[in-house]
C-alpha cells in the first residue's frame, strides 16, 4: 500500500506542476477564509467597542429611571418620563440605607448657558454628587470634584471638562474663577482630565454642579436618574428588590420607577452584536462554499486532463482506493494551504482595520479562525470527492488510450 509520505509527495508534485490552476484555487480558498476572519473581526470589534463603552460606566451598576416601562393598567401617565410622583432627592437618600450599596449618585440634567467675561457657550449641565466621579471612573486634571457634602445642599461650585475650559478661558487660569450658568454664579473647583463618551455626552464638554443646585437652577424637583453602584455582582438582585420595595413604600404603594442593571443593557447589546457577527461570518462562509465549487470544477478538469496518467498508475498497480486517496490528498493539501493563506490575509486585514480605526478592537475571534479552517478543509474534501471518485472508477484501458 502506498505510503502516506510518498502519496503527499506525489500529490504535491501534481499541484506544483500546474501553477496557474493551483494558484487560482488557492486564491479562491484564501479569499473565503480571509473574508470570514476579517468580517468576524469587524463584528467582534464592534461588540467589544460597545461593551467597553458600557463598562466605562462602572460595573455592578443599577440605574433607577422615573416612570414604568411596561403598562400596568390605569391611565398611561408614564409616557415620556412624566410621572405622577417625582423621583426625589429624598428617595435617593432613602436608597443609601442598604448595606450592599457602595455608591449612589442622583443625577439631573438640563441645558443652560455658561459664560465668563463675555464668552458664552450653550451646553448641557449635569447635576450630581461627589460619588459620580468614582462611579464614572473619571480622573481630575486640576482641582477637585464636587465636595463630599450633604446631598441636599445647593453649593455654588462647578466642575468643567477640557473643552469648556479651553473655549471659555483660553490661556487664563480657570480654577477658582466664577462663571455664570443660567442666572446664577458658580466657582470652578475642578477640571476633568478624562476624555471620551459617557452616556452619550462628551466628557470634555461636561459641566457638573451639585444636584441640589441643578434642581433649583432648572426649577425641577424631580431627578432624571439615580445611579447605584452595588458592592458585589451577587447582591444585584437583592438591591434591585430593595429599591423597588423602598420606592413603592415611599410612593404610596405605587411602583412607578423602572430599575435596570448595567448588566441587562450590556447583555442585550452583546446578544445583538454577537448575532451580527455570526451573520456576517455566515455570509462570508458562503464564499467558502463557492470556493469549494470552484475546486470541484477545476479538479474535474484536472482529472480529465490527467486521464492517461491515472490509467498508467492503474497499469502500474495502483488500486482504485489509491487513486481516490491521491486526489483527496491533493484536495487536502490545497485546502489547508488555502486556509493558511486566508488566515494570513484575514489577520493582516484585521490589523489594517485596527490600524485605520484604533477605537475598534477588531481582533478575529478564535472560533471564527477555527471554524473557517474547518469549513475550508471540509468543503475542499467534500467537493473533491466527486472528481476523485470519477478518477478512481476510470477504466484503465480507456484511460491509457486517451492522450
Amino acid at each position: 500500500m502506498l505510503l502516506l509520505r510518498d502519496a503527499i509527495h506525489f500529490s504535491w508534485s501534481a499541484l506544483t506542476a500546474n501553477f496557474t490552476r493551483t494558484f487560482l484555487m488557492l486564491l479562491a480558498m484564501s479569499i473565503g477564509v480571509g473574508s470570514v476572519i476579517i468580517l468576524t473581526a469587524l463584528g467582534e470589534g464592534a461588540r467589544n467597542y460597545v461593551t467597553a463603552e458600557f463598562s466605562s460606566l462602572g460595573t455592578n451598576l443599577i440605574i433607577v429611571i422615573p416612570g414604568r416601562s411596561e403598562t400596568s393598567g390605569g391611565a398611561p401617565a408614564t409616557m415620556m418620563g412624566v410621572t405622577e410622583r417625582d423621583l426625589t432627592l429624598d428617595d435617593a437618600i432613602a436608597l443609601t440605607r442598604h448595606p450592599k450599596v457602595s455608591r449612589i449618585a442622583p443625577f439631573n440634567i438640563g441645558a443652560a448657558e455658561i459664560s465668563w467675561q463675555g464668552r458664552k457657550r450653550e451646553t448641557t449641565i449635569q447635576g450630581s454628587t461627589h460619588e459620580l466621579l468614582m462611579l464614572r471612573k473619571w480622573k481630575m486634571a486640576q482641582g477637585q470634584f464636587l465636595p463630599e457634602a450633604d446631598i441636599s445642599r445647593a453649593n455654588s461650585v462647578c466642575v468643567i471638562g477640557k473643552n469648556i475650559r479651553n473655549e471659555i478661558f483660553g490661556a487664563h487660569a480657570a480654577l477658582g474663577q466664577w462663571v455664570r450658568i443660567g442666572d446664577r454664579r458658580y466657582r470652578i473647583i475642578g477640571i476633568l482630565g478624562s476624555e471620551g463618551q459617557s452616556m452619550g455626552f462628551d466628557v470634555k464638554d461636561a459641566v457638573i454642579i451639585p444636584v441640589a443646585s441643578a434642581q433649583s437652577l432648572f426649577n425641577v424637583p424631580s431627578l432624571f436618574r439615580i445611579f447605584i453602584e452595588v458592592k458585589t455582582r451577587e447582591a444585584l438582585p437583592k438591591v434591585m428588590t430593595f429599591i423597588k420595595d423602598t420606592i413603592r413604600e415611599r410612593h404610596q404603594g405605587v411602583e412607578d420607577v423602572t430599575v435596570i442593571t448595567q448588566d441587562a443593557v450590556l447583555k442585550t447589546f452583546d446578544r445583538i452584536l454577537s448575532a451580527l457577527t455570526y451573520t456576517v461570518g455566515g455570509i462570508a462562509a458562503i464564499s467558502l462554499v463557492v470556493a469549494g465549487i470552484l475546486i470541484m470544477n477545476v479538479m474535474l478538469v484536472s482529472v480529465s486532463q490527467r486521464t492517461s496518467e491515472i490509467g498508467l498508475l492503474k497499469s502500474l498497480g495502483a488500486s482504485a482506493r489509491a487513486i481516490l486517496n491521491l486526489i483527496l490528498i491533493e484536495a487536502v493539501l490545497l485546502s489547508s494551504l488555502g486556509a493558511l493563506t486566508g488566515l494570513i490575509i484575514g489577520h493582516i486585514g484585521s490589523w489594517v482595520i485596527r490600524y485605520a480605526f484604533p477605537v475598534l478592537p477588531a481582533y478575529p475571534p478564535a472560533w471564527a479562525t477555527l471554524a473557517s479552517i474547518f469549513v475550508a478543509l471540509i468543503t475542499g474534501i467534500l467537493f473533491s470527492l466527486l472528481p476523485a471518485k470519477k478518477a478512481a472508477q476510470l477504466d484503465p484501458v480507456v484511460a491509457l488510450a486517451s492522450h
Binding site: 502506498l2 496518467e309 498497480g317
Partner: protein, 227 residues
C-alpha cells in the same frame, strides 16, 4: 504460467455486440517469447489488456501462476499487476513532471516500499539500462529511445514474471527501435515472459512463438523452433 480457457470479451457498441475476443484458448509457459500479430481490430490489444489484468473477460477462465484471476477483487488485481506484470507502451506513458528516476521508482512507491530500498533498486535499473547520467532529467529532455528504456526500467523494477509490450517500437526510429527490442530480448533471456504486440512482421519474426489473430480468434499459433 498463463492459461486462458474459453475466453470471450464482448463490447457493446450501440445495439451491436462486438466480439473482440472469441473463444480464446492459450497456454504460455514461463520464459516464453511470444509475438501477437494481426490487423487492426483483430483483438490483439484486447488480448494484451486482458493478459495484463486491465480488462476482465466477459466469460471464460484465466489462470495466472495457477491463480484464477476472475476470482480476484479490484484491490488484489492491482497488487498482482504491480508484482507480476510490467507494461511497455507505444507512447511510453512517462509522467512529464517526474524525472527519469522518479518515473522508474513509481511502481515501488505504489507498492509502499521503503525509500532506501527504492533508491538502490532504481540505481541498479538505471545502470543496467545505461541511463545513470539521465536520472535527473525530465522525459521531455530525453530521446525517444531513452524514454522507452526508462519505461522498460519502470516495467521491470518490481521484477515481474511477465512483460507486456504494445508496439514498443512504434514511435521510434529504426536504430533506437532495434536497441529497445534487444533490451527486451535480453530481459527475456534472463527468464521473463515477453509478449509483444506488433504490426511489424520483422519484429514478429524475432520471437520464438508467434500468434496471428483475426476477428477475435487465434488464426495461427506456431512455435518457430528458435529456442
Amino acid at each position: 504460467m498463463i492459461k486462458l480457457e474459453n475466453i470471450h470479451r464482448n463490447f457493446q457498441v450501440g445495439d451491436q455486440t462486438v466480439h473482440a475476443l472469441d473463444d480464446i484458448n492459450l497456454d504460455i509457459q514461463d520464459g516464453e517469447y511470444l509475438s501477437v500479430m494481426g490487423p487492426s481490430g483483430s483483438g490483439k490489444s484486447t488480448l494484451l489488456n486482458l493478459l495484463g489484468l486491465l480488462d476482465p473477460p466477459s466469460s471464460g477462465q484465466y489462470f495466472l501462476n495457477n491463480t484464477n484471476i476472475t476470482d480476484l477483487d479490484e484491490n488484489q488485481l492491482a497488487k498482482t499487476r504491480n508484482q507480476n506484470i510490467g507494461f511497455v507502451f507505444q507512447t511510453f506513458h512517462l509522467i512529464p513532471r517526474l524525472t527519469a528516476a522518479e518515473n522508474i521508482e513509481l511502481p515501488l512507491v505504489l507498492a509502499g516500499i521503503e525509500e532506501k530500498i527504492r533508491k538502490e533498486r532504481v540505481y541498479d535499473a538505471l545502470s543496467s539500462m545505461k541511463l545513470l547520467d539521465r536520472a535527473p532529467h525530465k522525459p521531455e529532455q530525453l530521446s525517444g529511445g531513452q524514454r522507452q528504456r526508462v519505461a522498460i526500467a519502470r516495467a521491470t523494477i518490481t521484477e515481474p514474471t511477465i512483460l507486456l509490450a504494445d508496439e514498443p517500437t512504434g514511435n521510434l526510429d529504426q536504430k533506437s527501435g532495434l536497441n529497445v527490442i534487444e533490451t527486451l530480448e535480453q530481459l527475456n533471456r534472463r527468464g521473463i515472459t515477453l509478449i509483444v504486440v506488433t504490426h511489424d512482421a520483422a519484429l514478429g519474426s524475432r520471437s520464438t512463438r508467434s500468434i496471428r489473430m483475426l476477428d477475435g480468434r487465434i488464426e495461427s499459433d506456431d512455435a518457430q523452433g528458435k529456442s
